[in-house]
């Protein structure tokens, strides 16, 4: 069931600021939630970690979901693979989506394996017209199966192909438009890939169709030799915050989430990062309002 409305879901502008929910933070999140002392508005979970029959993770998910919205973020849909879509995987994801009723769900614009061999990584696609057609058709089938629009995320990449026919932002935008899906814009991934491939990150952000951006991701990265690696094990770097400010100035207030997956710090550190995103968003929009009002006064 495709929704042909190109505008963003309401939650994209109203849901606020969140962090990735990780098992190490389950106790503190439950405690804060019970005291109504959470400083974040929502959580994002890695879908695959909850596509399980039972046990503690699902119990905690249900408890948290009863208090705040939860968005599903997958890593294994394998949208770009030449393998057939994994129907069993989609069945499991559909069951989880029914349980959680997320504002939207997302996965990555990439391939994660071929010939049923899962590489458990997010590999870039060649930016070609053939690949666009392939992915658009598959997103259509996923959205029909899940009866929801999904958002696709740009990945950090460490290689590109000599067969590329266009830029990554042209590729991402074309797929989102033709598949009528959302975009999960990861500004850290843009920064990392811009460094690794030598393109202009600002140009990427400026070219994305704003009305398709359901959500923004922020995360830290590491330096490894001449490359930047999307390790999710550091605070968000200053250059990525600057790119975020540029993105929200252009796109407007947008659901924003901080990811942290390795060397995970105390939960308060994640909330502080989400607070900072909220402040930057508020500042950006009060600046714009001020500019609009001073233009009005001059007129």
């Amino acid at each position: 069931m495709r929704d042909s409305t190109p505008t963003r879901p309401d939650a994209a502008t109203s849901i606020g600021f969140g962090v990735g929910l990780r098992p190490v933070h389950f106790p503190v999140v439950l405690e804060r939630a019970a005291q109504r002392a959470l400083r974040v508005d929502w959580f994002e979970i890695i879908s695959e970690n909850f596509m399980i029959p039972g046990g503690r993770p699902l119990r905690i998910l249900d408890e948290i979901r009863s208090l705040v919205p939860v968005v599903l973020h997958g890593v294994s849909m394998n949208l770009g693979s030449s393998d057939p879509l994994d129907e069993q995987y989609l069945d499991g994801l559909a069951r989880l989506a029914e349980r959680v009723d997320p504002p939207w769900l997302s996965d990555h614009l990439c391939w994660t394996g071929v010939d049923s061999h899962n590489l458990h990584d997010l590999l870039p696609l060649p930016y070609t017209e053939d690949a666009i057609r392939h992915v658009v058709e598959r997103i259509g089938r996923v959205q029909d199966r899940l009866r929801r629009r999904i958002a696709i995320e740009n990945v950090s990449s460490y290689l590109s192909y000599t067969s590329d026919e266009m830029t990554e932002w042209e590729f991402l935008s074309a797929i989102a438009e033709r598949a009528d899906c959302g975009i999960l814009l990861d500004v850290n991934n843009i920064f990392v890939s811009a460094h690794n491939h030598g393109f202009d990150a600002a140009r990427y952000v400026d070219a994305i169709p704003s009305e398709r951006v359901f959500q923004i991701h922020l995360a830290g990265h590491s330096v490894q030799g001449s490359m930047l690696i999307d390790t999710h094990d550091h605070p968000v770097r200053a250059e990525v915050w600057a790119l975020y400010e540029r993105a929200i100035a252009r796109i407007g207030r947008t659901a924003t989430l901080v990811e942290w997956d390795d060397q995970i710090p105390e939960y308060d550190v994640l909330e502080a990062e989400a607070d900072l995103a909220r402040k930057k968003c508020d500042d950006s929009h009060s600046d714009r309002a001020q500019r609009r009002s001073s233009i009005g006064a001059d007129a």
Partner: protein
């Protein structure tokens, strides 16, 4: 074959190569290697091989770290280098097929069974026990039968009473008491003492139970009488027939007390999720 399939198969071949991308390209030889290398862009920052190596390293280390987390005691026994080699061999023979990393270790015991060079004979049993613990952690939830429910059974129904066990229960038949190693590891004790005890043992019969109660995963060894009783009850045998079976092993005097004690323990451990006086059918459901 479309260009996309060809490209993805070629990259996969390089990324999973156990000796790295450069060695895999060398093995391919010209002109296949040159064509493949030329499909990935190089620049002054990094060569195509260096770029592919980022994915090759991530593939191996991500999965090795996951295996280390699932097989903590096995990792403690083998040490870093031998566990690294185990992961390398395992990934060649059993590449990950499931979309979730949660299942990446599902065949590691089978791999160890087929590779005596990995270590002592009991290592595969340790892997089997640790995998059963992983499986119990997120197995389906079930309400379990309370002591009061058991006590409320009408005496006339006891002979035909059958039990449904909870889905997070696994019954293992191991050749060695490897739970001693896992127990040491669970208690943050060195595993060396338990390992040296195992080294002195020959293969025997060591039945085990692994299960989860609420959120706690437990495991314990079974004596032969309890193992037989559990298997009989798991297969749908009635309590009356179980008592008769125990009588032939223990004598009439002991049988009913022993059966009652076993049942009390199963209930206390939270193993029983349902009671029925009807013989099991393929689609039987219990309350």
């Amino acid at each position: 074959m479309t260009a996309l399939v060809k490209l993805q198969r070629s990259l996969k071949q390089l990324i999973v190569a156990p000796n790295g991308v450069a060695a895999a390209l060398a093995e391919l030889g010209e002109p296949a290697a040159r064509a493949l290398e030329q499909s990935v862009s190089s620049d002054t920052r990094s060569s195509a091989v260096e770029r592919l190596d980022v994915y090759a390293n991530a593939y191996f280390y991500r999965i090795r770290d996951c295996l280390e987390s699932d097989f903590g005691a096995l990792r403690a026994v083998l040490g870093a280098d031998r566990f690294h080699n185990l992961a390398t061999g395992y990934l060649i023979e059993f590449p990950p097929r499931h979309p979730s990393l949660r299942f990446v270790g599902d065949r590691i015991a089978e791999f160890i069974d087929g590779h005596s060079e990995v270590g002592p004979e009991w290592l595969a049993d340790l892997a089997r026990l640790e995998w059963a613990i992983v499986e119990a952690f997120d197995a389906a939830d079930a309400n379990v039968v309370s002591r009061d429910e058991l006590a409320a059974i009408d005496p006339v129904d006891w002979a035909e009473l059958r039990f449904a066990f909870q889905p997070a229960l696994t019954r293992l038949d191991l050749g060695f008491p490897v739970h001693r190693v896992r127990l040491a590891w669970d208690n943050d004790d060195p595993v060396a003492t338990a390992v040296s005890q195992l080294a002195a043992l020959d293969r025997g019969m060591h039945p085990m139970l692994v299960w989860r109660t609420d959120e706690r995963v437990s495991y314990r060894s079974l004596d032969p009488v309890e193992a037989t009783a559990v298997d009989f009850a798991l297969s749908g045998g009635a309590f009356g027939a179980l008592c008769e079976q125990l009588a032939s092993a223990l004598g009439d005097g002991e049988a009913s007390n022993h059966a009652a004690a076993l049942l009390a323990r199963w209930q206390a451990d939270g193993l029983i999720r349902g009671l029925s006086t009807m013989p099991p059918t393929p689609n039987a459901t219990y309350p």
